[in-house]
Amino acid sequence: MIIAKLKPFDEIKEMLEDYRKILVLGCGSCVAVCMAGGEKEAGLLTTQLQMAFELDKSGKTVETITILRQCDREYIEEVKEKLGQYDAILSIACGVGVQFTAEVLDGTKILLPGLNTTFLGATAEPGTWVERCLACGDCVLDETGGVCPVTMCSKSLMNGPCGGHEEGKCEVERTRDCGWVLIYERLKKLNKLDLLKTFKGPKNYGAVKRPDKIIHEAYQPVAVEKEEAKDKK
């Protein structure tokens, strides 16, 4: 899932300077799981803002709603009209959600980001999330025992470690595991160390054409036309 964290409160407050009627828009999916932008966090942030604005006697009002997914048109459309009532919408979805909500509102309303979107990760333990994939578009996990060299090695090395690891930890941060030592240990357990012996050529960084787009086969224009033609018959 997408992992994000709340921006510093002062930064959020500063962003809201020019607006009076504010809506905090939560998102009930990834960012709810990582406790950054779900209904609960939206409620908390709203209260904090209300209190701060009351102290300032700025006369600003803050309300909140949360929708299931801000990366899905369907859910945004449901609240589109309501969103129209505010001066600004502080979205605490990931960067995708903020952009998609802004796209649906199409310049009728300003969208402000309340989170810093950080990585694609998993829940390591309650309250701890760890990065695991950089969405490179050309997955090599089959060659590395299920440990991603692109993400788990700070230099995305493909043919083995640099000279910087010490006691299994990365030179970048001595508290973090070296991705290549992890790969080595996993392959050793799997009895597949031989996989490391083959030369890996330069990675295809063109595999994702950023910004990329994927259309499912069934939704390709040709496929749709075919179906429609069948219907006509």
């Binding site: 700070s154 230099k155 995305s156 090395l157 493909m158 043919n159 083995g160 470690p161 640099c162 000279g163 910087g164 690891h165 010490e166 006691e167 030179e171 970048v172 290549w180 030592v181 080595y184 160390l193 490391l196 012996k197 030369f199 890996k200 050529g201 330069p202 990675k203 960084y205």
Partner: protein, 289 residues
């Protein structure tokens, strides 16, 4: 043919040393260092934006050294350039007559003086070697044909003190397959451990040059033990440095002693004086090279 290639071909015991380009345009001190090394040093490594601290480039410094009659070993790291720029720089180096090329990964950018910069690492050190080998054969990484191809003696590095050593050896083997004709090691302070490492890589058919760093102080030894991966200065050596009044003389004596002990197991040494360039001839003398 470079002096280094010649020495390797003749199975001579190779001695190389190293300079680091300055931060700023004043080349005086850096070039002066090379003067101190003496005739026995066959070639001089030039680091490439060492420790990710912004400074003069490797190629420019190599050219300056060449003008003064020294033979440079140009270092190239993967941190700052993508494959277009790396390959282009290899061609640049060739037209300036650079003959020795050492390919490395490079320290991570967050450890340097511009920690907010974007690291590149489009290629890794093995792929960079393969790219250089390809250019030498007249072809770039995309399969494009070259009009005139470079010629290098390619080298790589290994860190014998790192665990799991098996992983180090695997990567070193790949470097050799990719075109490395010599290997320089991370600095060695424990001759016996080094001997064991060399035993494990007996099957390697390219010369291995042991890295030698001159100890300058107790603080430096402790710093390296704490911060430099794969380097551990034994406690007795630290005691020796603590007890001495003449740090330079003791540093030189220790370096020479290490060289004498490891000489039978390797094909050369790479002396990194880290500012004490004037000690290099004395180390070589005391090491009986």
């Amino acid at each position: 043919m470079s002096k280094l290639s010649e020495a390797i071909k003749n199975k001579e015991f190779v001695i190389t040393s190293e300079v680091g380009p300055p931060k700023g345009t004043n080349m005086k001190e850096c070039l002066e260092e090379a003067k101190h090394f003496g005739d026995k040093v066959m070639a001089i490594n030039v680091t490439d934006i060492q420790s990710a601290v912004m400074r003069i480039g490797s190629l420019a410094t190599c050219i300056k050294l060449k003008e003064l009659g020294y033979e440079p070993i140009m270092q190239m790291v993967c941190r700052d350039r993508n494959r277009l720029s790396l390959q282009s720089e290899l061609l640049n180096a060739d037209i300036f007559g650079i003959e020795n090329m050492l390919c490395l990964t490079g320290d991570h950018q967050t450890l340097g003086d511009h920690p907010e910069c974007k690291g590149v690492f489009d290629l890794d050190s093995v792929q960079l070697l393969a790219a250089a080998k390809g250019l030498m054969a007249g072809q770039d990484l995309a399969g494009g044909k070259l009009d005139g191809s470079p010629n290098f003696l390619l080298g790589g590095v290994v860190s014998p003190g790192l665990e799991p050593v098996e992983l180090q050896i695997m990567k070193m083997e790949k470097k050799i397959q990719a075109g490395a004709k010599f290997i320089q090691t991370q600095s060695i302070f424990e001759p016996e451990k080094f001997r064991q490492f060399m035993e494990k890589v007996k099957h390697i058919n390219v010369p291995i040059f042991a890295g030698i760093i001159i100890l300058k102080s107790v603080g430096m030894a402790r710093f390296m033990n704490k911060n430099v991966a794969g380097v551990s200065v034994p406690e007795e050596m630290i005691k020796e440095m603590k007890a001495t009044k003449d740090k330079k003389a003791t540093g030189v004596a220790i370096a020479a002693r290490i060289i004498r002990e490891i000489k039978p197991y390797c094909q050369g040494v790479h002396i990194m004086p880290l500012g004490w360039a004037d000690t290099v001839p004395e180390i070589i003398k005391q090491a009986e090279l």
